[in-house]
Amino acid sequence: MLLEVENLSVYYDSIQALKGISLQVDEGELVTIVGSNGAGKTTTLLTISGILRPRHGTIRFQGQDITYLAPHEIVRRGISHCPEGRQIFTGLTVMENLLMGAYHRRDRERVAQDLAWVQELFPILAARRRQLAGTLSGGEQQMLAIARALMSRPKVLLLDEPSLGLAPMLVDTIFEVIQQLRAQGVTVLLVEQNAYQALRVADRAYVLETGTIKLSGPAQELARNEEVKKAYLGG
């Protein structure tokens, strides 16, 4: 198992946001966590990345306990996080943003290769690389956010609501890229409110409701599940 989350409980002061959730991601998988707003999806990813500290539970990566490592140590081990709401550095150029994604890497040649790789995935970024990131459109900013996260050459990529707030055509583009990444062997843990699209592309899925995993299984099975259809797929 590449990434294992076991019995994770996370609190914001006295409010419990995660109530002992467990999930696994295997190498090469595209796993999704679906759930409505406030279910605890972002909290889950931020805890895996070391930004939030759990009160109980463990997070293992490649068999090693990483629960209390600093965020930069976690990135170094191979977990990269593309945060909700993009959070690109608007005052830095596109190229500088990408370089920040590769911050800990000293292998210049490989970094150069990966720069070429992400600009191939998102050709628009190549055209805009000298521009300040703040001048990009919303869709372009999302692409930059994903590309920046890929620049650490992660073993697993955490994607938090990459389609949020994008026009339908751009949503399709983003999901196409996610499938492309998967085909290239990048392991992805995708968090989405857009359950329809997420279940369509994922191998396996977890349904998160108010801090608890309600259902889990192959994505296609969940997409046919009556409860899921009712709650997340509009009937």
Binding site: G50, P71, I88, F89, L92, L99, M100, Y103, R148
Partner: protein, 299 residues
């Protein structure tokens, strides 16, 4: 009285004073940018730099450059140490806790200086080569003025290259904009913060030499006034922004000199009040300062 040479002379004075304010403001601004900390102890590092410079001038035969450079290095280290001991344990605590801590650090440095060296002002005697008056056309200035301005500009160019061309420098700008995203990118923020303190403190030490040379004497509380003025300069420029700190520093330097130089002498006692009036005016028009960038930070 307001002849061309006189105006030119005032411009030179403004440039000199502005250089000092800019150097001190940069340190306040980069630390604030990343930590949201108004570092009240910053001016005291300027004072430590001045004492170290005096010690080197009096007790060693080192070249003059060393009396500027060595205090910069040492005070840079002191800044890193202060961050490590006083501010880092408060990471994640409310901003007001850090603010109060910085006041405490300020008292510790001031009182530590008094206890080890006494509160008596000491003459800061410059070497002869810096006192010499130069003449350039109609304006005259001391070599110290020229060296101060040149050094300040040189250091600011270096800093600009650092934050635009190096990995850690770019990361410093990234941290100032969004600390959480910077952590998610694998940036070791403690390392970046240490760099920010080292650079800011070293610049304050350089300014300490210039300030001490300008006024000819030093004492343990001498950091307060330039610290305060530099804070005003940083806010005018847009605190958190490096170009803003430079702009604010020079604007304030010029404004202060012109206030003293062109208004009736009876008013010159009000120069500090004038500085704050200027601050209020700028903030009325641009509440976040002239060159403020980015949005307010969440979490």
């Amino acid at each position: 009285m307001f002849s061309l040479p006189y105006i030119a002379q005032q411009l030179v004075n403004g440039l000199t004073l502005g250089s000092i304010y800019a150097l001190v403001a940069i340190g306040l601004s980069i630390v604030y940018g990343i930590l949201r900390l108004i570092n009240f102890a910053h001016g005291d590092l300027l004072m430590v730099g001045a004492y170290l410079a005096l010690a080197l001038l009096l007790n060693t035969a080192l070249p003059l450059g060393a009396a500027v450079l060595l205090p910069m290095i040492i005070v840079g280290g002191v800044g890193v140490l202060v961050e490590r001991l006083a501010y880092r344990p408060l990471r994640g605590a409310p901003e007001v806790a850090m603010l109060i801590t910085s006041l405490a650090v300020s008292s510790v440095i001031q009182n530590g200086t008094i206890m080890t060296l006494s509160a008596q002002p000491r003459a800061f005697r410059l070497p002869q080569e810096l006192i010499a008056q130069q003449k350039l056309g109609v304006v005259s200035f001391s070599t110290l003025d020229a060296v101060s301005v040149a050094l300040a500009v040189f250091l600011m160019v270096l800093l600009t290259l650092f934050v635009t061309r190096t990995r850690v420098g770019i990361a410093m700008r990234a941290c100032a904009e969004n600390l959480r995203a910077a952590r998610l990118m694998g940036i070791n923020i403690n390392q970046v913060i240490a760099y920010a303190f080292a650079i800011g403190s070293a610049l304050a030490a350089a300014a300490g030499f210039m300030w001490a040379g300008r006024f000819g004497s030093i004492e343990p509380f001498m950091g307060f006034l330039p610290g305060l003025k530099a804070f005003v300069a940083a806010v005018i420029g847009g605190i958190g922004s490096i170009p803003g700190a430079m702009l604010g520093g020079y604007l304030l330097g010029f404004a202060e000199i012109f206030f003293v130089g062109f208004l009736p002498p009876e008013l010159s006692g009000y120069r500090d009040a004038f500085v704050f009036t200027l601050l209020l005016l700028v903030l009325l028009i641009r509440p976040r300062g002239l060159l403020a960038t980015g949005a307010e930070r969440e979490g």
